[in-house]
Protein backbone atom coordinates (compact mmCIF):
# COMPACT_ATOMS: atom_id res chain seq x y z
CA UNK A 1 0.00 0.00 0.00
CA UNK A 2 2.82 2.42 0.89
CA UNK A 3 5.33 3.49 -1.73
CA UNK A 4 8.07 1.02 -2.63
CA UNK A 5 11.09 3.04 -1.57
CA UNK A 6 13.37 0.11 -0.89
CA UNK A 7 11.94 -0.53 2.57
CA UNK A 8 10.43 -3.97 2.86
CA UNK A 9 6.68 -3.79 3.17
CA UNK A 10 5.16 -5.45 6.19
CA UNK A 11 3.44 -8.77 5.59
CA UNK A 12 0.56 -7.95 7.91
CA UNK A 13 -0.35 -4.47 8.83
CA UNK A 14 -3.00 -3.29 11.24
CA UNK A 15 -3.81 0.39 10.99
CA UNK A 16 -5.84 2.20 13.62
CA UNK A 17 -8.01 -0.81 14.47
CA UNK A 18 -10.77 -0.37 17.03
CA UNK A 19 -13.56 -2.76 17.77
CA UNK A 20 -16.89 -2.38 19.52
CA UNK A 21 -19.36 -5.11 20.19
CA UNK A 22 -23.05 -4.55 20.76
CA UNK A 23 -25.23 -1.49 20.43
CA UNK A 24 -26.34 1.47 22.54
CA UNK A 25 -26.13 0.93 26.28
CA UNK A 26 -24.59 -2.50 25.95
CA UNK A 27 -21.87 -1.33 23.62
CA UNK A 28 -18.51 -2.73 24.68
CA UNK A 29 -15.20 -1.24 23.61
CA UNK A 30 -12.86 -4.16 23.04
CA UNK A 31 -9.92 -2.82 21.06
CA UNK A 32 -8.63 0.73 20.91
CA UNK A 33 -6.64 2.09 17.94
CA UNK A 34 -4.22 -0.74 17.41
CA UNK A 35 -1.32 -0.17 15.02
CA UNK A 36 0.86 -3.16 14.35
CA UNK A 37 3.12 -4.24 11.51
CA UNK A 38 4.43 -7.77 11.14
CA UNK A 39 7.38 -8.58 8.91
CA UNK A 40 7.59 -11.56 6.59
CA UNK A 41 8.51 -14.81 8.36
CA UNK A 42 8.46 -13.07 11.68
CA UNK A 43 7.16 -14.84 14.76
CA UNK A 44 5.18 -12.22 16.65
CA UNK A 45 3.47 -12.94 19.93
CA UNK A 46 0.49 -10.89 21.04
CA UNK A 47 0.57 -11.04 24.81
CA UNK A 48 -2.19 -9.84 27.06
CA UNK A 49 -4.36 -10.89 29.96
CA UNK A 50 -7.94 -12.06 29.56
CA UNK A 51 -10.32 -9.42 28.26
CA UNK A 52 -7.53 -7.50 26.53
CA UNK A 53 -9.01 -8.14 23.10
CA UNK A 54 -6.06 -10.13 21.78
CA UNK A 55 -8.23 -12.87 20.32
CA UNK A 56 -10.48 -10.24 18.78
CA UNK A 57 -7.48 -8.69 17.06
CA UNK A 58 -6.52 -12.11 15.69
CA UNK A 59 -10.04 -12.70 14.40
CA UNK A 60 -10.03 -9.33 12.69
CA UNK A 61 -6.84 -10.33 10.88
CA UNK A 62 -8.49 -13.65 10.11
CA UNK A 63 -11.40 -11.75 8.54
CA UNK A 64 -13.89 -13.38 10.89
CA UNK A 65 -14.67 -10.02 12.54
CA UNK A 66 -14.89 -6.67 10.84
CA UNK A 67 -13.03 -3.86 12.62
CA UNK A 68 -15.22 -0.95 13.73
CA UNK A 69 -12.56 1.49 12.62
CA UNK A 70 -9.27 0.99 10.85
CA UNK A 71 -8.10 -1.72 8.50
CA UNK A 72 -5.95 -4.83 8.41
CA UNK A 73 -3.79 -5.59 5.40
CA UNK A 74 -2.03 -8.66 4.08
CA UNK A 75 0.64 -7.84 1.47
CA UNK A 76 -0.98 -4.44 1.13
CA UNK A 77 -4.41 -5.90 0.37
CA UNK A 78 -7.21 -5.14 2.78
CA UNK A 79 -8.49 -8.13 4.72
CA UNK A 80 -12.28 -8.30 4.80
CA UNK A 81 -13.11 -11.99 4.59
CA UNK A 82 -11.75 -15.24 5.93
CA UNK A 83 -9.63 -17.15 3.48
CA UNK A 84 -7.08 -19.94 3.09
CA UNK A 85 -4.17 -17.49 2.74
CA UNK A 86 -4.30 -17.34 6.55
CA UNK A 87 -4.15 -20.57 8.52
CA UNK A 88 -5.85 -20.48 11.90
CA UNK A 89 -5.40 -22.67 14.99
CA UNK A 90 -8.07 -22.42 17.67
CA UNK A 91 -7.77 -22.64 21.43
CA UNK A 92 -10.57 -25.22 21.57
CA UNK A 93 -8.88 -27.16 18.71
CA UNK A 94 -12.17 -27.10 16.75
CA UNK A 95 -11.44 -30.21 14.75
CA UNK A 96 -14.19 -31.83 12.73
CA UNK A 97 -15.19 -34.62 15.12
CA UNK A 98 -16.69 -36.73 12.29
CA UNK A 99 -13.42 -36.71 10.35
CA UNK A 100 -10.30 -38.71 11.03
CA UNK A 101 -6.93 -37.03 11.43
CA UNK A 102 -6.43 -37.46 7.70
CA UNK A 103 -9.91 -36.15 6.97
CA UNK A 104 -9.28 -33.06 9.05
CA UNK A 105 -5.88 -32.28 7.60
CA UNK A 106 -6.89 -32.83 3.97
CA UNK A 107 -9.96 -30.59 4.33
CA UNK A 108 -8.31 -27.45 2.95
CA UNK A 109 -7.08 -29.04 -0.30
CA UNK A 110 -10.38 -30.93 -0.58
CA UNK A 111 -12.32 -27.66 -0.52
CA UNK A 112 -10.04 -26.36 -3.28
CA UNK A 113 -10.88 -29.41 -5.36
CA UNK A 114 -7.44 -31.04 -5.21
CA UNK A 115 -7.80 -34.68 -6.38
CA UNK A 116 -7.94 -37.27 -3.63
CA UNK A 117 -4.60 -38.90 -4.19
CA UNK A 118 -2.73 -35.65 -4.42
CA UNK A 119 -4.32 -34.11 -1.34
CA UNK A 120 -3.71 -37.29 0.66
CA UNK A 121 -0.03 -37.03 -0.20
CA UNK A 122 0.02 -33.38 0.79
CA UNK A 123 -1.79 -34.06 4.05
CA UNK A 124 0.51 -36.99 4.88
CA UNK A 125 3.51 -34.70 4.61
CA UNK A 126 2.09 -32.34 7.21
CA UNK A 127 0.85 -35.13 9.44
CA UNK A 128 4.46 -36.33 9.45
CA UNK A 129 5.74 -32.82 10.10
CA UNK A 130 3.65 -32.46 13.26
CA UNK A 131 4.64 -35.96 14.39
CA UNK A 132 1.34 -37.77 14.00
CA UNK A 133 2.44 -40.48 11.58
CA UNK A 134 0.45 -43.62 12.29
CA UNK A 135 -2.59 -41.74 13.63
CA UNK A 136 -4.11 -40.92 10.23
CA UNK A 137 -7.18 -43.04 10.88
CA UNK A 138 -7.83 -41.93 14.46
CA UNK A 139 -10.80 -39.75 15.30
CA UNK A 140 -10.27 -36.56 17.33
CA UNK A 141 -11.99 -37.99 20.43
CA UNK A 142 -9.33 -40.69 20.55
CA UNK A 143 -6.50 -38.15 20.76
CA UNK A 144 -5.00 -36.26 23.69
CA UNK A 145 -5.17 -32.46 23.82
CA UNK A 146 -1.63 -32.04 22.54
CA UNK A 147 -2.26 -34.41 19.65
CA UNK A 148 -5.48 -32.63 18.76
CA UNK A 149 -3.64 -29.37 18.52
CA UNK A 150 -1.00 -30.98 16.30
CA UNK A 151 -3.85 -31.88 13.96
CA UNK A 152 -5.02 -28.27 14.14
CA UNK A 153 -1.54 -27.04 13.22
CA UNK A 154 -1.20 -29.52 10.34
CA UNK A 155 -4.65 -28.62 9.04
CA UNK A 156 -3.69 -24.95 8.94
CA UNK A 157 -0.25 -25.56 7.42
CA UNK A 158 -1.46 -27.82 4.62
CA UNK A 159 -3.08 -24.87 2.84
CA UNK A 160 0.35 -23.28 2.51
CA UNK A 161 -0.91 -20.06 4.11
CA UNK A 162 1.06 -16.83 4.01
CA UNK A 163 0.34 -16.25 7.68
CA UNK A 164 -0.33 -18.58 10.59
CA UNK A 165 -2.72 -17.29 13.24
CA UNK A 166 -2.62 -19.15 16.55
CA UNK A 167 -5.21 -18.22 19.16
CA UNK A 168 -3.94 -19.38 22.57
CA UNK A 169 -3.38 -22.81 21.04
CA UNK A 170 -1.88 -24.39 24.14
CA UNK A 171 -4.13 -22.76 26.72
CA UNK A 172 -5.91 -26.00 27.48
CA UNK A 173 -2.86 -28.19 27.79
CA UNK A 174 -1.10 -29.25 30.98
CA UNK A 175 2.25 -27.56 31.70
CA UNK A 176 4.39 -30.50 30.58
CA UNK A 177 2.65 -30.90 27.24
CA UNK A 178 2.64 -27.17 26.82
CA UNK A 179 6.44 -26.90 27.02
CA UNK A 180 6.76 -29.73 24.58
CA UNK A 181 4.31 -28.18 22.14
CA UNK A 182 6.16 -24.87 22.34
CA UNK A 183 9.38 -26.65 21.32
CA UNK A 184 7.49 -28.37 18.53
CA UNK A 185 6.04 -25.07 17.36
CA UNK A 186 9.53 -23.63 16.97
CA UNK A 187 10.75 -26.78 15.22
CA UNK A 188 7.83 -26.73 12.76
CA UNK A 189 8.22 -23.01 12.17
CA UNK A 190 11.92 -23.42 11.46
CA UNK A 191 11.17 -26.23 8.97
CA UNK A 192 8.43 -24.30 7.24
CA UNK A 193 9.07 -20.60 7.75
CA UNK A 194 5.93 -18.53 7.90
CA UNK A 195 4.75 -15.27 9.29
CA UNK A 196 3.23 -16.25 12.62
CA UNK A 197 0.92 -14.30 14.87
CA UNK A 198 0.63 -16.15 18.15
CA UNK A 199 -1.81 -15.00 20.84
CA UNK A 200 -1.20 -15.97 24.45
CA UNK A 201 -1.62 -14.81 28.04
CA UNK A 202 1.52 -16.62 29.16
CA UNK A 203 4.67 -14.49 29.45
CA UNK A 204 7.05 -17.43 29.52
CA UNK A 205 5.47 -18.84 26.36
CA UNK A 206 5.74 -15.42 24.72
CA UNK A 207 9.44 -15.06 25.51
CA UNK A 208 10.18 -18.62 24.43
CA UNK A 209 8.46 -18.25 21.07
CA UNK A 210 8.49 -14.70 19.83
CA UNK A 211 10.87 -12.66 17.71
CA UNK A 212 8.86 -9.76 19.04
CA UNK A 213 6.22 -9.51 21.73
CA UNK A 214 3.37 -7.05 21.37
CA UNK A 215 1.88 -6.47 24.80
CA UNK A 216 -1.73 -5.45 25.09
CA UNK A 217 -2.84 -3.58 28.16
CA UNK A 218 -5.30 -5.43 30.31
CA UNK A 219 -8.97 -4.61 30.81
CA UNK A 220 -11.13 -3.41 27.99
CA UNK A 221 -10.53 -1.69 25.75
CA UNK A 222 -7.29 -3.41 24.77
CA UNK A 223 -4.53 -0.99 23.85
CA UNK A 224 -1.11 -1.76 22.47
CA UNK A 225 1.21 -0.94 25.33
CA UNK A 226 4.67 -1.81 24.16
CA UNK A 227 6.55 -4.02 21.73
CA UNK A 228 9.57 -5.96 23.00
CA UNK A 229 12.30 -7.36 20.80
CA UNK A 230 13.51 -10.77 21.85
CA UNK A 231 17.10 -11.07 20.75
CA UNK A 232 17.79 -14.49 22.20
CA UNK A 233 19.26 -17.32 20.13
CA UNK A 234 17.11 -20.37 19.43
CA UNK A 235 16.52 -22.92 20.78
CA UNK A 236 15.86 -20.89 23.88
CA UNK A 237 16.29 -22.07 27.41
CA UNK A 238 13.69 -21.27 30.04
CA UNK A 239 16.39 -21.04 32.71
CA UNK A 240 18.84 -18.89 30.75
CA UNK A 241 19.57 -15.67 32.74
CA UNK A 242 18.81 -13.45 29.72
CA UNK A 243 15.52 -15.29 29.26
CA UNK A 244 14.58 -14.81 32.88
CA UNK A 245 15.57 -11.18 32.82
CA UNK A 246 13.35 -10.38 29.85
CA UNK A 247 10.54 -12.34 31.42
CA UNK A 248 11.03 -10.33 34.60
CA UNK A 249 11.10 -7.02 32.73
CA UNK A 250 7.87 -7.73 30.91
CA UNK A 251 6.21 -8.89 34.11
CA UNK A 252 7.30 -5.77 35.97
CA UNK A 253 6.36 -3.34 33.26
CA UNK A 254 3.04 -4.84 32.44
CA UNK A 255 1.94 -6.12 35.83
CA UNK A 256 0.73 -9.27 34.19
CA UNK A 257 0.47 -11.78 36.93
CA UNK A 258 -0.21 -14.99 35.16
Amino acid sequence: MEDKSGVKKPKIECVNISKFFGEGQEKIHVLDTIDLAVKENEFIVVLGPGQSGKSTLLKIIAGLYKPSTGKAYLDGKELTHPGPDRGIVFQRYTLFPWKTVMGNVEMGPKLRGVPRKERRGLASRYIDLVGLKGFEKAYPHQLSGGMKQRVGIARAYVNNPKVMLLDEPFGQLDAQTRYFMEEETVRIWETEKRTVIFVTNNIEEAVYLGDRIAVLEGKMPGKLKKIYDVNLPRPRDYTDPAFLELRHTITEETELTL
Partner: protein, 280 residues
Protein backbone atom coordinates in the same frame (compact mmCIF):
# COMPACT_ATOMS: atom_id res chain seq x y z
CA UNK B 1 -20.33 -44.45 36.10
CA UNK B 2 -21.94 -46.00 39.13
CA UNK B 3 -22.15 -49.23 37.22
CA UNK B 4 -18.42 -49.20 36.66
CA UNK B 5 -17.86 -48.51 40.30
CA UNK B 6 -19.94 -51.55 41.14
CA UNK B 7 -18.09 -53.77 38.70
CA UNK B 8 -14.73 -52.57 39.96
CA UNK B 9 -15.72 -53.47 43.48
CA UNK B 10 -16.46 -56.98 42.27
CA UNK B 11 -14.82 -60.12 43.53
CA UNK B 12 -12.10 -60.26 40.86
CA UNK B 13 -10.06 -57.31 42.09
CA UNK B 14 -9.06 -58.80 45.45
CA UNK B 15 -9.11 -62.36 46.69
CA UNK B 16 -11.61 -62.67 49.58
CA UNK B 17 -10.03 -63.94 52.79
CA UNK B 18 -12.99 -65.36 54.64
CA UNK B 19 -16.62 -66.29 54.10
CA UNK B 20 -17.91 -62.86 55.15
CA UNK B 21 -15.73 -61.14 52.58
CA UNK B 22 -16.68 -63.67 49.94
CA UNK B 23 -20.39 -63.04 50.51
CA UNK B 24 -19.84 -59.26 50.42
CA UNK B 25 -17.95 -59.65 47.16
CA UNK B 26 -20.72 -61.76 45.64
CA UNK B 27 -23.42 -59.32 46.63
CA UNK B 28 -21.44 -56.40 45.26
CA UNK B 29 -21.26 -57.98 41.80
CA UNK B 30 -23.65 -56.19 39.42
CA UNK B 31 -24.66 -59.31 37.54
CA UNK B 32 -25.58 -61.04 40.77
CA UNK B 33 -27.58 -57.95 41.70
CA UNK B 34 -29.32 -57.98 38.31
CA UNK B 35 -30.37 -61.57 38.89
CA UNK B 36 -31.50 -60.86 42.44
CA UNK B 37 -33.54 -57.91 41.21
CA UNK B 38 -35.43 -60.01 38.67
CA UNK B 39 -35.94 -62.94 41.04
CA UNK B 40 -37.28 -60.62 43.76
CA UNK B 41 -39.67 -59.03 41.31
CA UNK B 42 -41.00 -62.39 40.09
CA UNK B 43 -41.32 -63.69 43.66
CA UNK B 44 -43.22 -60.59 44.75
CA UNK B 45 -45.46 -60.88 41.72
CA UNK B 46 -46.09 -64.59 42.32
CA UNK B 47 -46.82 -64.07 46.01
CA UNK B 48 -49.26 -61.28 45.23
CA UNK B 49 -50.97 -63.48 42.65
CA UNK B 50 -51.23 -66.47 44.97
CA UNK B 51 -52.49 -64.35 47.86
CA UNK B 52 -54.95 -62.62 45.50
CA UNK B 53 -53.93 -59.15 46.69
CA UNK B 54 -55.37 -57.64 43.50
CA UNK B 55 -58.37 -59.97 43.40
CA UNK B 56 -58.49 -62.75 40.86
CA UNK B 57 -57.23 -60.61 38.00
CA UNK B 58 -53.53 -60.98 38.64
CA UNK B 59 -52.24 -64.18 37.02
CA UNK B 60 -49.11 -65.97 38.18
CA UNK B 61 -45.96 -65.55 36.05
CA UNK B 62 -46.21 -69.17 34.88
CA UNK B 63 -49.73 -68.56 33.64
CA UNK B 64 -48.47 -65.65 31.57
CA UNK B 65 -45.75 -67.85 30.12
CA UNK B 66 -48.30 -70.49 29.22
CA UNK B 67 -50.56 -67.86 27.63
CA UNK B 68 -47.62 -66.64 25.56
CA UNK B 69 -46.94 -70.14 24.33
CA UNK B 70 -50.63 -70.66 23.62
CA UNK B 71 -50.87 -67.53 21.49
CA UNK B 72 -47.72 -68.43 19.59
CA UNK B 73 -49.25 -71.75 18.59
CA UNK B 74 -53.01 -71.18 18.51
CA UNK B 75 -54.43 -68.29 16.47
CA UNK B 76 -56.35 -65.52 18.22
CA UNK B 77 -58.98 -63.96 15.95
CA UNK B 78 -57.44 -65.93 13.09
CA UNK B 79 -53.86 -64.84 13.69
CA UNK B 80 -51.02 -66.13 15.82
CA UNK B 81 -49.02 -63.86 18.11
CA UNK B 82 -46.25 -63.33 15.56
CA UNK B 83 -48.76 -62.24 12.95
CA UNK B 84 -50.33 -59.77 15.38
CA UNK B 85 -46.90 -58.45 16.15
CA UNK B 86 -46.17 -58.13 12.45
CA UNK B 87 -49.35 -56.10 11.89
CA UNK B 88 -48.36 -53.64 14.61
CA UNK B 89 -44.80 -53.43 13.34
CA UNK B 90 -46.00 -52.78 9.80
CA UNK B 91 -48.13 -49.86 10.93
CA UNK B 92 -45.22 -48.48 12.92
CA UNK B 93 -42.80 -48.78 10.02
CA UNK B 94 -45.10 -47.18 7.44
CA UNK B 95 -45.98 -44.28 9.75
CA UNK B 96 -42.38 -43.92 10.92
CA UNK B 97 -41.03 -43.63 7.39
CA UNK B 98 -43.65 -41.03 6.49
CA UNK B 99 -43.00 -39.11 9.73
CA UNK B 100 -39.26 -38.99 9.06
CA UNK B 101 -39.84 -37.97 5.44
CA UNK B 102 -42.03 -35.07 6.58
CA UNK B 103 -40.41 -34.15 9.90
CA UNK B 104 -36.71 -34.05 9.04
CA UNK B 105 -37.06 -31.70 6.04
CA UNK B 106 -39.35 -29.37 8.02
CA UNK B 107 -36.91 -29.30 10.93
CA UNK B 108 -33.98 -28.70 8.57
CA UNK B 109 -35.81 -25.82 6.88
CA UNK B 110 -36.61 -24.32 10.27
CA UNK B 111 -32.95 -24.60 11.24
CA UNK B 112 -31.63 -23.13 7.99
CA UNK B 113 -34.09 -20.30 7.45
CA UNK B 114 -35.13 -17.96 10.26
CA UNK B 115 -38.00 -16.81 8.02
CA UNK B 116 -39.41 -20.28 7.56
CA UNK B 117 -38.91 -20.82 11.28
CA UNK B 118 -40.86 -17.67 12.13
CA UNK B 119 -43.58 -18.78 9.75
CA UNK B 120 -43.87 -22.36 10.91
CA UNK B 121 -42.99 -22.23 14.62
CA UNK B 122 -46.19 -20.66 16.07
CA UNK B 123 -48.39 -23.36 14.54
CA UNK B 124 -45.92 -26.08 15.44
CA UNK B 125 -45.73 -24.88 19.06
CA UNK B 126 -49.53 -25.03 19.21
CA UNK B 127 -49.68 -28.63 18.02
CA UNK B 128 -46.52 -29.90 19.72
CA UNK B 129 -47.88 -30.43 23.26
CA UNK B 130 -51.04 -32.22 22.08
CA UNK B 131 -50.77 -35.91 22.91
CA UNK B 132 -51.24 -38.02 19.77
CA UNK B 133 -53.96 -40.01 21.54
CA UNK B 134 -56.09 -36.85 21.58
CA UNK B 135 -56.32 -37.20 17.80
CA UNK B 136 -57.87 -40.68 17.85
CA UNK B 137 -61.52 -39.61 17.78
CA UNK B 138 -60.94 -37.06 15.06
CA UNK B 139 -58.88 -39.51 13.03
CA UNK B 140 -61.68 -42.08 13.15
CA UNK B 141 -64.25 -39.47 12.07
CA UNK B 142 -62.01 -38.42 9.19
CA UNK B 143 -60.55 -41.72 8.01
CA UNK B 144 -62.80 -44.41 9.52
CA UNK B 145 -61.46 -47.22 11.63
CA UNK B 146 -59.21 -48.68 8.93
CA UNK B 147 -55.45 -48.53 8.56
CA UNK B 148 -55.37 -44.87 7.53
CA UNK B 149 -56.59 -43.49 10.84
CA UNK B 150 -54.09 -45.61 12.78
CA UNK B 151 -51.18 -44.60 10.62
CA UNK B 152 -52.30 -40.98 10.82
CA UNK B 153 -52.19 -41.04 14.62
CA UNK B 154 -48.77 -42.67 14.67
CA UNK B 155 -47.44 -40.06 12.25
CA UNK B 156 -48.74 -37.30 14.53
CA UNK B 157 -46.83 -38.83 17.42
CA UNK B 158 -43.63 -39.62 15.53
CA UNK B 159 -43.22 -36.46 13.51
CA UNK B 160 -42.68 -34.11 16.47
CA UNK B 161 -39.30 -35.39 17.73
CA UNK B 162 -38.02 -35.47 14.13
CA UNK B 163 -38.85 -31.81 13.67
CA UNK B 164 -37.51 -30.67 17.04
CA UNK B 165 -34.23 -32.55 16.80
CA UNK B 166 -33.50 -31.64 13.19
CA UNK B 167 -34.17 -28.00 14.00
CA UNK B 168 -31.99 -27.99 17.10
CA UNK B 169 -29.32 -30.05 15.37
CA UNK B 170 -28.86 -27.36 12.74
CA UNK B 171 -29.23 -24.48 15.19
CA UNK B 172 -26.74 -25.76 17.75
CA UNK B 173 -23.78 -26.44 15.45
CA UNK B 174 -20.65 -24.99 17.08
CA UNK B 175 -20.20 -21.66 15.25
CA UNK B 176 -16.42 -22.01 15.44
CA UNK B 177 -16.70 -24.95 13.03
CA UNK B 178 -18.08 -22.50 10.48
CA UNK B 179 -15.20 -20.10 11.20
CA UNK B 180 -12.88 -23.00 10.66
CA UNK B 181 -14.28 -24.12 7.31
CA UNK B 182 -14.32 -20.51 6.07
CA UNK B 183 -10.68 -20.08 7.01
CA UNK B 184 -9.89 -23.26 5.10
CA UNK B 185 -11.46 -21.70 2.02
CA UNK B 186 -14.93 -23.24 2.08
CA UNK B 187 -17.79 -21.55 0.22
CA UNK B 188 -21.41 -21.49 1.39
CA UNK B 189 -22.33 -24.76 -0.26
CA UNK B 190 -19.27 -26.46 1.24
CA UNK B 191 -20.18 -25.08 4.67
CA UNK B 192 -23.49 -26.91 4.48
CA UNK B 193 -22.08 -30.14 3.07
CA UNK B 194 -18.91 -30.35 5.18
CA UNK B 195 -20.11 -28.82 8.47
CA UNK B 196 -23.86 -28.34 8.89
CA UNK B 197 -25.00 -31.81 7.88
CA UNK B 198 -22.34 -33.91 9.57
CA UNK B 199 -22.43 -31.75 12.71
CA UNK B 200 -26.22 -31.92 12.95
CA UNK B 201 -26.40 -35.59 12.03
CA UNK B 202 -26.15 -37.10 15.54
CA UNK B 203 -28.97 -34.86 16.78
CA UNK B 204 -31.11 -35.72 13.77
CA UNK B 205 -30.41 -39.40 14.26
CA UNK B 206 -31.37 -39.10 17.93
CA UNK B 207 -34.65 -37.49 16.83
CA UNK B 208 -35.33 -40.38 14.49
CA UNK B 209 -34.63 -42.77 17.34
CA UNK B 210 -37.14 -41.00 19.61
CA UNK B 211 -39.65 -40.97 16.74
CA UNK B 212 -39.39 -44.72 16.44
CA UNK B 213 -40.10 -45.33 20.10
CA UNK B 214 -42.91 -42.76 20.00
CA UNK B 215 -44.38 -44.61 17.02
CA UNK B 216 -44.23 -47.89 18.89
CA UNK B 217 -46.00 -46.33 21.90
CA UNK B 218 -48.63 -44.67 19.75
CA UNK B 219 -49.52 -47.75 17.73
CA UNK B 220 -50.89 -49.39 20.86
CA UNK B 221 -53.13 -46.45 21.60
CA UNK B 222 -54.32 -46.48 18.01
CA UNK B 223 -55.04 -50.20 18.15
CA UNK B 224 -56.98 -49.96 21.37
CA UNK B 225 -59.81 -48.46 19.33
CA UNK B 226 -61.37 -50.63 16.65
CA UNK B 227 -58.53 -52.85 15.52
CA UNK B 228 -58.93 -56.48 14.45
CA UNK B 229 -55.28 -57.32 14.74
CA UNK B 230 -52.11 -56.08 16.40
CA UNK B 231 -50.68 -55.96 19.90
CA UNK B 232 -53.23 -53.38 21.04
CA UNK B 233 -55.97 -55.71 19.87
CA UNK B 234 -54.54 -58.54 22.00
CA UNK B 235 -54.61 -56.31 25.07
CA UNK B 236 -58.17 -55.16 24.42
CA UNK B 237 -59.29 -58.75 23.77
CA UNK B 238 -57.70 -59.78 27.05
CA UNK B 239 -59.74 -57.12 28.80
CA UNK B 240 -62.98 -58.03 27.05
CA UNK B 241 -62.54 -61.74 27.75
CA UNK B 242 -61.33 -61.12 31.32
CA UNK B 243 -58.01 -62.82 30.58
CA UNK B 244 -55.37 -60.82 32.47
CA UNK B 245 -52.68 -63.31 31.40
CA UNK B 246 -53.35 -62.30 27.81
CA UNK B 247 -53.00 -58.60 28.66
CA UNK B 248 -49.73 -59.13 30.46
CA UNK B 249 -48.40 -61.36 27.65
CA UNK B 250 -49.15 -58.54 25.25
CA UNK B 251 -47.34 -56.08 27.50
CA UNK B 252 -44.30 -58.34 27.74
CA UNK B 253 -44.08 -58.76 23.95
CA UNK B 254 -44.43 -55.01 23.49
CA UNK B 255 -41.60 -54.33 25.93
CA UNK B 256 -39.35 -56.97 24.36
CA UNK B 257 -39.98 -55.57 20.90
CA UNK B 258 -39.21 -52.02 22.02
CA UNK B 259 -36.00 -53.29 23.58
CA UNK B 260 -35.01 -55.12 20.41
CA UNK B 261 -35.70 -52.05 18.30
CA UNK B 262 -33.56 -49.83 20.50
CA UNK B 263 -30.77 -52.40 20.36
CA UNK B 264 -30.82 -52.37 16.56
CA UNK B 265 -30.88 -48.56 16.46
CA UNK B 266 -27.95 -48.28 18.86
CA UNK B 267 -25.88 -50.57 16.66
CA UNK B 268 -26.95 -48.65 13.60
CA UNK B 269 -25.79 -45.44 15.27
CA UNK B 270 -22.39 -46.90 16.02
CA UNK B 271 -22.12 -47.80 12.39
CA UNK B 272 -23.27 -44.50 10.90
CA UNK B 273 -21.51 -42.16 13.35
CA UNK B 274 -18.32 -43.94 14.41
CA UNK B 275 -16.96 -40.70 15.86
CA UNK B 276 -19.63 -40.76 18.53
CA UNK B 277 -18.43 -43.93 20.24
CA UNK B 278 -16.89 -43.44 23.66
CA UNK B 279 -18.17 -39.87 23.73
CA UNK B 280 -19.73 -40.35 27.12
Amino acid sequence: MSREALVNNGPITEKPKNLGELLTAIFKNVYVLYAISIICFLLLWDTMAVMKVLGRFLPRPVEVLYQLYDMLVNPLAGKTLMLHLWFSLRRVLIAFVIAVAIGVPIGLLMGFSPYFNAFFKPVFDLFKPMPPIAWISLAILWFGIGETSKIFIIIIGAVVPCIINSYNGIRLVDPELYDCIRMLGGNQRQEVVEVTFPAAFPAIFAGIQISLSMAWTTVLAAELVGAREGMGFIIITGMNQSKPAMIISGMVVIALTAWAISLVVTHLERWVCPWKTNLE
